[in-house]
């Protein structure tokens, strides 16, 4: 475990070295994506958010001191079905008029297994703030820092209880965030 973490650091450090210790990077709109997959007994639907901002305060000397903030414009929700998009925006699910923002703010960044980083943070949705742990694959080079995460959240924890029993509580989140370095 320690060896792997040391290896990850060794790989990342040359890139860190060229950066200043406290670098604030914004996610690139074109290459960043936040998507979700909802499942039910007889199928699944994919969707995501077109508009969001993400800022990372990267402390390359000590990654644990870094922080990540994501703010999603809930009304930019889309799905693979126009009618479903309509329904998802309503109070049965995201209630985008009442709760226009979905926010994530990291509280802790720790190294995880298999060269991944675990970002612990508070996710606020539907006016409920719940702590989540997100396993993240991080890639850093001279041009960009890329964070890839694939994880599941239990939507009912945020009070999104419509269709429980018919629609699965767990929703898969796929986030690809690219932070370009100037």
């Amino acid at each position: 475990m320690k060896f792997r973490f040391a290896l990850l650091l060794a790989l990342l450090l040359p890139a860190f070295a060229s950066a200043t210790a406290g670098e604030t990077l914004k996610a690139d709109k074109e290459s960043s994506k936040i998507k979700f997959v909802g499942t039910k007994t007889d199928g699944k639907h994919e969707g995501g958010f077109k508009e969001f901002t993400s800022v990372i305060d990267a402390d390359f000397a000590n990654p644990a001191n870094g922080s990540l903030k994501i703010e999603i414009d809930a009304a930019s929700l889309f799905s693979d079905d126009e009618k479903l998009t309509n329904h998802l925006k309503n109070p049965d699910f995201f209630d985008v008029r009442k709760y226009p923002k979905i926010k994530f703010e990291s509280t802790k960044i720790v190294h995880g297994d298999e060269g991944t980083i675990k970002i612990v943070g508070k996710m606020t949705m539907l006016d409920e703030t719940i702590e989540v742990e997100i396993p993240v694959e991080a890639k850093l080079d001279d041009s960009a820092l890329v964070l890839k995460a694939k994880f599941k959240i239990d939507r009912t924890k945020w009070g999104m209880t419509y269709g429980v029993g018919k629609i699965d509580n767990d929703v898969e989140i796929n986030a690809d965030l690219t932070f370009k370095r100037s």
Partner: protein
């Protein structure tokens, strides 16, 4: 349909509305209602009139309990004022009860009823229109929809009330149900919680319509005015929570189905009941088919 929705939108409303059966049996006297015209006999005693008034209030209470429990059962007390449409349940219940109490013993609609209805429609419009930062993009439509809600609720309530006094009390509630089915078609495509609540209202009304038919009773007709208010509030809510655009005619149709049927029935008032029922049924089906086409078939898609 999930079990909880089935329970609160169908089973509970049926159970609550079924209590109207003994109430109708208790309050109605065979000689009070003329079998063919539905007119109240002038020989009705004071005790019979009191029984009928109590019966109307009791049935209105049952209707209120059914629609309130359907909402609370699914959402809990805390969500009572969460959305504009849920807050509008309050004017529906209060105005319904006041109209049931103020029902005149004569056949003429009293000015007090007009006053209550006008006040109720304004309160309903005030409650239904969603406000707040999230709704700024539809502010331009607020004035139009406020006027439409008042016009729809007032016109439908008066037209249905007038129709119920033309010897249609055994079947006029079905016209109210057709009116409720219209906003159900609007809401079903975009907002399931609202659609569930309208379903509970429809189910309650069906039970009361059956009881009205079985007992040849005018008492269940007391729910027509609240139904008219629900048609207006739920159609408007269906529009505000819909992110797809639909033509104005579709909303106007959904808002005024009961008035359209009642107006045609007025033209046919001298004809046989059988013909009037057939025409009303055909018109209802045509209106609902048009709305289903616009809201569900023209935009094919899937809900969760």
């Amino acid at each position: 349909m999930e079990f909880s929705a089935l329970l609160w939108s169908i089973v509970v409303p049926i159970c609550v509305a079924s209590v109207a059966w003994p109430i109708c049996r208790w309050s109605i006297s065979p000689h009070v209602i003329n079998e063919t015209t539905g007119e109240q006999s002038s020989v009705a005693s004071n005790s019979t009139k009191t029984k009928q008034r109590l019966g109307r209030v009791a049935i209105q209470l049952l209707f209120s309990c059914a629609i309130a429990s359907a909402f609370i059962g699914r959402h809990g007390w805390s969500h009572w004022t969460a959305d504009a449409w849920s807050f509008s349940i309050l004017p529906v219940i209060v105005v319904g009860l006041l109209l049931a109490i103020a029902e005149p013993t004569s056949e003429k609609t009293s000015s007090l009823r007009y006053l209550l209805l006008t006040w109720g429609c304004c309160w309903l419009a005030f409650s239904t229109i969603p406000t707040g930062e999230g709704w700024l993009d539809v502010v331009s439509e607020h004035r139009t929809w406020t006027a439409l809600i008042v016009a729809s609720a007032f016109t439908n309530a008066l037209m249905l009330d007038e129709m119920s006094r033309r010897g249609t009390h055994r079947w006029v509630i079905w016209v109210g149900i057709a009116g409720l089915a219209a906003p159900l078609a609007v809401a079903a495509g975009c907002y399931a919680s609202l659609a569930e609540w309208i379903t509970a209202t429809v189910v309650t009304s069906i039970v009361l319509a059956l009881i009205a038919g079985i007992f040849n009773s005018k008492l269940p007709c007391v729910i027509l005015s609240p139904c008219a208010l629900i048609v207006a509030t739920s159609t408007a809510s269906g529009r505000f929570y819909d992110y797809q655009s639909h033509p104005w005619w579709s909303y106007l149709l959904a808002l005024f189905v009961p008035s359209i049927i009642a107006a045609i029935d007025w033209l046919l008032r001298k004809r046989t009941t059988q013909l009037r029922v057939i025409i009303a049924g055909t018109l209802s089906t045509a209106c609902l088919a048009l709305l289903l086409w616009e809201f569900h078939l023209r935009f094919r898609g899937e809900q969760w």
